[in-house]
């Protein structure tokens, strides 16, 4: 869209640039409240943790490469296994999807200039970083947790897990929960209130529906986890007996609380990926999504029903038969909204004219993997089969097809897809496709044999296995697959790094995308849009007249909001014009607050109650300063 910009428009853009400029250099990053920079910080941090989790995975596969392996030993294996799960779920998938993709893209897709609470957003990132460092301090000081990511009691109690390992885990997860909750609340308010006037809820991109569903799921699921962890720390640090059956506590309480969080968490992990898929597919098949309203409802329903299925993780616990049957039925019901989405993607591809470029390849790969993971998931709703195969490698195969196949594949496809938008450069297409095929082969080679070895009776989470049970060959294939998968992922990283320096200029819309982020320059300016875009469908970039109207508006000064640091707010459902919001500017308080809170967690871990108290006071002081009156801008 090379359009001659009249002088008046130039002047307005200059003005916006001045108003929205942040500090240069490191201080700029430390104090930024720009959702795009915060999104990028989430991206780089979570990718670093992805690398850590990947190294742990490779260690596990190397230990299990052959029977009676001696690479890690039992303790090293349990550390790697626990930290692999914790890292991938809490420090990689969730933060990269809601922190990086959600943060960067949701405001852009709804035509807003920032998130609703920019400083809370910055705070959310700094807390996430601090929590990640907190947990890895545990690892590098030789105190990694070893009770697995679901950390069942009484194994996780002091009696059986002495030392601070579990405390690093429990306090670290409470800590990350602060970050996720803040991001979730921010996304909800942003999606409800900051949509460009005209983007009524039925015109909202499916990507945003997915993130809205995820944000609500987080807000309701995390308290159960936090509660479980707080009770655990009361037991561990203060000698309480919440989970101690001998003293009148309840062991199963932990499992219930954990999975009340843990199963919605699965949908929290895959729904953003569904959102990414519903962004990439229309662009590359050049048609609108089939059954749009059904898909939107399905996204919400999945998040909702996801709260009613948790006990299918507990079919072997010996709950009453009626309980088991209820949860099996609920688990079957959730197949329906997933099936609707699946066949909506497939029929969209079939009826469109797909160009199988790198991002779409990842999405097609995702669809194939999700079918496998979904089908194996259904088998767990057959109670006797679940009771036979739970806690075997069959489960490990299933949830890696879901989490790696159905969540990480779209995330990687999304990295390629939005790379030109974020960097202004194109990735290398051939290498992009090669990286997909290597990763796809590695993924299947690693995880498919796990189904078989599980069906042959190999339990999960064992640091070694004997040679006479017929498991060896499959384990060798799995380990080779893991190295291949690592090579594929390195190809993705190498492609994106080299491309960010040497890639061709991308322009604002290299793929003919459907959603608003393609309307602005690449990379986008700090204020995202010089004109708040006009929206009259969920595919605003395909409404050429609306985009022409934006250009006209810029010339005339309509919808520009160049008087201050501002973005419009609209009504929650119909997106009628509501008011103009004066947005907060950059601030050092979020990072300072995160540091103060880190102090509380560190000293609670060390049982230094007085020092922890000092940091509680410091936190309150920082909060007061944050909310103090600021000098008015000129």
């Amino acid at each position: 869209m090379a359009i001659a910009v009249p002088k008046a428009a130039d002047a307005r853009i200059d003005r916006l640039e001045r108003i929205w400029a942040e500090r240069p250099g490191v201080m700029g990053w430390l104090t930024t409240v720009d959702h795009k920079r915060i999104g990028l910080m989430f991206l780089f941090t979570s990718l670093a943790f992805f690398a850590a989790g990947g190294v742990e995975a490779l260690l596990i596969r190397t230990q299990l490469l052959q029977p009676n392996g001696t690479v890690l030993g039992p303790n090293g294996f349990n550390e790697a296994m626990t930290m692999h799960g914790v890292t991938m779920i809490f420090l990689f998938v969730v933060p990269i999807s809601i922190g990086a993709f959600g943060n960067y893209l949701v405001p852009m897709m709804i035509g807003a200039r920032d998130m609703a609470f920019p400083r809370l957003n910055a705070f959310s990132f700094w807390v996430f970083l601090a929590a990640g460092i907190f947990m890895y301090v545990g690892v590098f000081s030789g105190n990694a947790p070893t009770a697995g990511w679901f950390d069942y009691v009484p194994l996780a109690e002091n009696t059986y897990s002495p030392g601070p390992g579990i405390d690093f885990y429990a306090l670290g997860l409470i800590f990350t929960g602060v970050s996720s909750t803040a991001t979730a609340v921010n996304l909800i308010v942003t999606i409800f209130k900051l949509r460009a006037p005209g983007m009524s809820i039925n015109r909202m991109p499916l990507f945003c529906f997915a993130f809205l569903a995820v944000a609500f799921a987080l807000v309701f699921a995390l308290p159960a986890l936090t509660c479980a962890l707080v009770l655990l720390e009361f037991d561990r640090l203060l000698g309480f007996h919440f989970y101690d059956i001998a003293a009148g506590g309840d062991t199963i309480l932990w499992q219930n609380l954990f999975w009340i969080f843990g199963h919605p968490e699965v949908y929290i992990i895959i729904l953003p990926a569904f959102g990414i898929a519903t962004s990439i597919i229309p662009t590359f098949v050049r048609r609108r999504m089939v059954a749009f309203p059904m898909v939107a409802l399905a996204e919400i329903l999945v998040a909702f029903i996801g709260f009613g299925v948790w006990a299918h993780h507990m079919f072997a616990v010996g709950l009453s038969q009626v309980t088991n049957i209820y949860f099996a039925a609920a688990s079957l019901i959730i197949v329906i909204p997933s099936g609707i989405q699946l066949f909506a993607w497939i029929t969209t591809i079939v009826t469109g004219t797909p160009r199988f470029k790198t991002p779409l390849l990842w999405i097609v790969g995702f669809i194939v993997l999700f079918i496998i993971g979904g089908l194996s998931g259904i088998t767990f709703a057959a109670i006797p089969f679940d009771q036979q195969l739970t806690d075997t490698y069959y489960v490990v195969a299933h949830f890696h097809y879901v989490i790696f196949g159905a969540a990480v594949f779209p995330i990687l496809g999304g990295l390629y897809y939005w790379f030109p938008k974020v960097t202004g450069r194109m990735y290398f297409e051939r290498w992009g496709q090669a990286s997909f095929w290597v990763s796809f082969a590695g993924m299947n080679l690693t995880f498919f044999p796990m189904h078989i070895v599980g069906l042959l009776g190999m339990p999960r989470r064992q640091y070694t296995y004997p040679s006479d049970l017929g498991w060896t060959g499959y384990n060798i294939i799995e380990s080779i697959g893991a190295y291949l998968l690592a090579a594929g992922l390195l190809m993705v990283v190498a492609n994106l790094i080299v491309s960010s320096f040497r890639g061709e200029a991308a322009g604002r819309d290299p793929f003919g995308g459907a959603t608003l982020e393609w309307a602005t320059s690449s990379p986008p300016p700090a204020y995202n849009y010089a004109v708040i875009p006009k929206v009259s469908s969920p595919y605003p970039m395909w409404d050429a007249e609306d985009r022409d109207e934006d250009v006209a508006n810029l010339a005339s000064g309509r919808m520009v909001l160049e008087q201050g640091h501002e973005t419009p707010a609209s009504t929650a459902v119909d997106a009628d014009w509501d008011e103009i919001l004066d947005m907060p500017s950059s601030s050092p308080w979020p990072v300072v607050l995160a540091v103060a809170i880190s102090g509380i967690f560190a000293f609670v871990l060390l049982k230094q109650w007085i020092a922890a108290g000092v940091f509680v006071v410091a936190t309150l002081v920082v909060l007061a300063a944050w909310h103090g009156k600021e000098p008015q801008r000129a």
Binding site: G339, T353, P384, P459
Partner: protein, 330 residues
């Protein structure tokens, strides 16, 4: 080994597979039903998978032509396809699956109804071995469960410490061992044989080395075995064995293990009254040979790192004496 008869039978069985652990080689009605359910689910899943992939393939073949084959572009038909494949067909399949597995089959694999079993065994999980008791008798053993074949046996599963899970896949599905709970599951073997089982809930450092074997035997042989297990330990015959017993009782061994008929009454480790009659050591970590037994008592922390059994500071001749004493506890 001194008593050859049993040793040879056991050895032959050990060599011929030493007990399998595959749910796909069922040896009981319950496991058989679950395996059949699996093959049915796999068949239906394969149809769904290849059907969906075929649709994607059509998308690839027709990548330059919009719309559906024959029908062309018709929003009503495409939405209809989503409803058919995404809702109608799944509802039918899932209702059928629910009825078969969760209403019918679940009863066949559930805990046995009271009074329908002729025998009960208590299995208690420990970090990291299985304590096995036969209520109504004095028999206590470890890591080996003997049952009469073709007999319904109720297992009461519980734990002495953390959560474990009792699982012998060829004979039935698993059941968790929860502190303060008494979960029940049915053991039934169609034929005599050895069936391997393993702890299926992560229970700490040596979760990998917490296996067991179920010996399903003809009823007569089982009763003979049970009678032997009720006996007190035999008294040592040779001077070396007597020396070994003395050392066992004087050192830490006796604080953790019980040998019925002696002053050793510990309850931390397995009952060793008839340890020599078992086929393996340390929860199926080592074969129960003279050599392996000595290696195990000399250096348990190397064989099974983290086990509660400490390494004792004794001389070579002392270890040999303890070894020969235990080796004679048939």
């Amino acid at each position: 080994m001194k008593k050859w008869g049993w040793g040879i039978t056991l050895g032959a069985l050990l060599l011929s597979g030493c007990g399998k652990q595959s749910p796909l080689e069922p040896q009981s009605p319950a496991s058989h039903d679950i395996a059949v359910l699996w093959w049915w689910m796999l068949g239906i899943a394969a149809v769904v998978f290849f059907g969906a992939v075929a649709l994607l393939a059509i998308g690839w073949v027709r990548r330059d032509r919009p719309g559906l084959p024959f029908i062309g572009e018709n929003e009503g038909v495409t939405t209809g396809l989503v409803v058919t494949f995404g809702m109608v067909i799944p509802v039918i399949v899932l209702v059928a699956l629910f009825a078969v597995s969760d209403l019918w089959l679940v009863k066949r694999t559930g805990a046995p109804d009271p009074g329908t079993t002729s025998m009960t065994i208590r299995v208690i999980g420990h970090q990291w071995f299985w304590e096995v008791r036969y209520p109504g008798t004095r028999a206590v053993t470890a890591n080996e469960i003997h049952i009469p074949a073709r007999t319904r046996v109720q297992v009461i599963a519980t734990t002495a410490d953390v959560i474990h899970s009792f699982w012998v896949p060829q004979l039935n599905r698993k059941i968790d061992m929860i502190p303060g709970n008494e979960n029940r599951v049915l053991l039934y073997a169609d034929n005599p044989g050895i069936y391997r089982g393993q702890c299926a809930e992560f229970c700490g450092l040596q979760h990998a080395h917490m296996a067991m074997k179920v010996f399903a035997e003809p009823r007569k042989r089982f009763q003979g075995w049970l009678k032997d297990q009720e006996e007190r330990a035999v008294t040592p015959a040779t001077p070396e064995e007597r020396e070994g017993r003395q050392l066992f009782l004087q050192n830490a061994c006796a604080g953790c293990h019980t040998i019925r008929g002696t002053s050793a009454q510990g309850s931390i480790g397995p009952d060793l009254t008839h340890v020599a009659s078992r086929s393996t050591l340390a929860a199926v970590t080592l074969p129960n040979t003279n050599h392996a037994l000595e290696r195990w008592i000399r250096d348990p922390q190397h064989v099974k790192p983290g086990t509660k059994m400490p390494a004792l500071d004794l001389s070579n001749t002392d270890f040999a004496a303890i070894g020969s004493y235990l080796d004679h506890l048939r």
